[in-house]
Symmetry: C2
Subunit: 460 residues, 2 copies
Amino acid sequence: MATLENVLSTIDANQGEALDRLFALVSIPSVSALPENFPDCDQAADWLVAELKSLGFEASKVETAGRPMVVGSAKAKTRDAPNVLFYGHYDVQPADPLSLWKTPPFEPRLESGPNGERIVGRGAADDKGQLMTFVEACRAFRANGGLPCNVNILFEGEEETGSPSLPAFLASHGKAIKSDLLLVCDTSMWDAKTPAVTTMLRGLVMEEVIIHAANRDLHSGMYGGAAINPIRVLTRVLADLFDANGAVTLPGFFDGVEELPEEVAEQWRNLDFDAGAFLGEVGLSVPAGEKGRSALEMIWSRPTCDVNGIVGGYTGEGAKTVLPAKASAKVSFRLVGKQNPDRIAQSFRAHVKQRLPADVKAEFRAMGGSPAFALPMRGEALRRACRALEAEWGKPAVLVGAGGSIPIVGAFKRELGMDALMVGFGLDDDAIHSPNEKYERNSFHKGARSWARILAALAQ
Amino acid sequence: MATLENVLSTIDANQGEALDRLFALVSIPSVSALPENFPDCDQAADWLVAELKSLGFEASKVETAGRPMVVGSAKAKTRDAPNVLFYGHYDVQPADPLSLWKTPPFEPRLESGPNGERIVGRGAADDKGQLMTFVEACRAFRANGGLPCNVNILFEGEEETGSPSLPAFLASHGKAIKSDLLLVCDTSMWDAKTPAVTTMLRGLVMEEVIIHAANRDLHSGMYGGAAINPIRVLTRVLADLFDANGAVTLPGFFDGVEELPEEVAEQWRNLDFDAGAFLGEVGLSVPAGEKGRSALEMIWSRPTCDVNGIVGGYTGEGAKTVLPAKASAKVSFRLVGKQNPDRIAQSFRAHVKQRLPADVKAEFRAMGGSPAFALPMRGEALRRACRALEAEWGKPAVLVGAGGSIPIVGAFKRELGMDALMVGFGLDDDAIHSPNEKYERNSFHKGARSWARILAALAQ
């Protein structure tokens, strides 16, 4: 029976052909945002179906209201093997502005860079290069006796346009692909030499509040002083959301927020994360969140509140002495741990209502909410994946968070109850969504080796 | 020598002709905002020049960069008589929307109403009817031996468009018309039976503040928590402008704010001002200013702060998780007494700067300021005017404030150092600036009688 070493050797021996295959996929301009590229999306899906079939997968293209899904499945070589579902997306961002590309975006090429050769082209990283790391790992297992896990695959064609067809697809086809664990390859390494597993994604609650006062705009000379100003009420309500230490004041807000496990906290402390550089790139210098928390905690593991928009009264050039009838704000909360989106929305509304003086009404509009996602830090899958990644890269994997939500992970959790193991090999300078997108050849090669090790580890 | 009684009898005997003259003036569509009516503005000015000449005034039309001024002067019948300058404006608001007028706006007519006959037409009250009360008083003196005061007259043609040419005119021609006292007839009575003198006009300071944070808009998922949000800073700054009792917190803000003289305070307490009705008309019910102050104090004699506009981040439909680079607000302060506009602007800026966290800058834009105006409450001119009004109306005149500034009063104070005695005979339901504007025939008739009494009283 083939060993993992044989599988890794196969990957090493077939790098050239693997690169040819990735180039073939990147050459297809499968831009999901542009109707003129819809046929190309179909072509990319067909290409992937053929690819999976050549690896012994049962595979097919499944139509949706939008771009088709690619679905595949292959049995493990042994019984009682674990079941995994791998997710990737074959659609890419538009290539605009074309003039900023050094070479045509859909004519992939190699160029040399500080970390060795890199693959340049739209989708080279996001997500074609990343998803092909998993396909190449499967290919190497097939050449060495078969897969160690039962593998389902789902390649989506609308990730870059917000995955509009995914929830309905999971509702109708989910049972067939539901597995023990979701594997996602759409995230980044810590740096070029350090692998990472994204174990935390913050959730989100968004509320709009509209403060209504007089039944029409008033003249501040005639009414100013006697008539309540809704902007004054709104600014008080919003200012009161934070205490002097920058923590959110809503009652119950921190229910379900847990401290990091000490080993993760220590890992984060030891990371050479340069908060000054992170903030300096956007013209800032001082982490502005809760006092006593590091910048990484502020963006990964601590909940936040931000006013994303506010408007009221006269906002044009010059002055107008208006006392407006209403003022409104869009407020969002980033959630962590087990914070409950509904309860936080309720707590926000109660906070507002408690601060309304006479004659003032608040109107609320819910604009969506989703809980945070966290992979159990001490779970078996995570431990095995970390061991596999350390073996490949020679350094422990960093358990990172992501400040924003990744909608598809929420969809799998909600529709199928599945946790996600997010391992990706992108780098911060890959320029995904930008001109001259690239993927390190090292990411592509060692990414495939990493997946081979992870699949083997999950099956042990 | 003719007595005041003779003068008043002349006014009474000539009501029909006086009404014909007012109708002739109202018939001229002297809308200063509309270029097609500029010739009509000239015609109204010419009409007034001829009118004044027929009363023995030296009168002329003086060109400006905009509509012309009408300037007139006539000597008193005695030497050592006081010098007064009467101000009015011959321009009117546009008549739109025409469809809401019951009869054409520039075809004046009489109709009956709850207070007797009323004169309907654009400008019937504002300000043609009001200024003609003074002209008719002068006419009656001329028929009875001459004026008791040296009278200068200035009729402006751009009041409804913000008096753009007035400051320059006062600077160049002010010496010729500068007098002991400015008389203005462009305000209202307390009610249909109670005369009023407007002795207080609030001043105004307007500032725009722009809070700058990151050098570009950020994604709140990636940066939320670590990057300072300028809306959060702005809402804190603005909320802190008020204490729990609704008073403005700026250091030194109340310097120069004086309590009302007790006799005025008592008069206001005894007025049948219905704060509930005043606020109820715009959908409110509770005076929202400083605790312990009456609604009249809030709008007339107490300083205020209002945020007239605020904007930052995403304000369109739906949600956008943006963490904006900047947020801004337009803030105005209504001033009373001797509050210093410059010092208050400085105090506001200091208040903002003290509340700026790291990485945040505030940009300020001054948008104008003027001190409050107050006629000395115990001055001789006011006492004489009040005596004259009480003699005419059989009730003491109410000394009222006005929440808004009246720019021309500030211009005369600033350019010529003149105080203004503001006596008008409008009523709250005159619908000035609206369709079906009217002026009570009683206001027109007793207004002329009032000015006759005031001129006589000032000359005693």
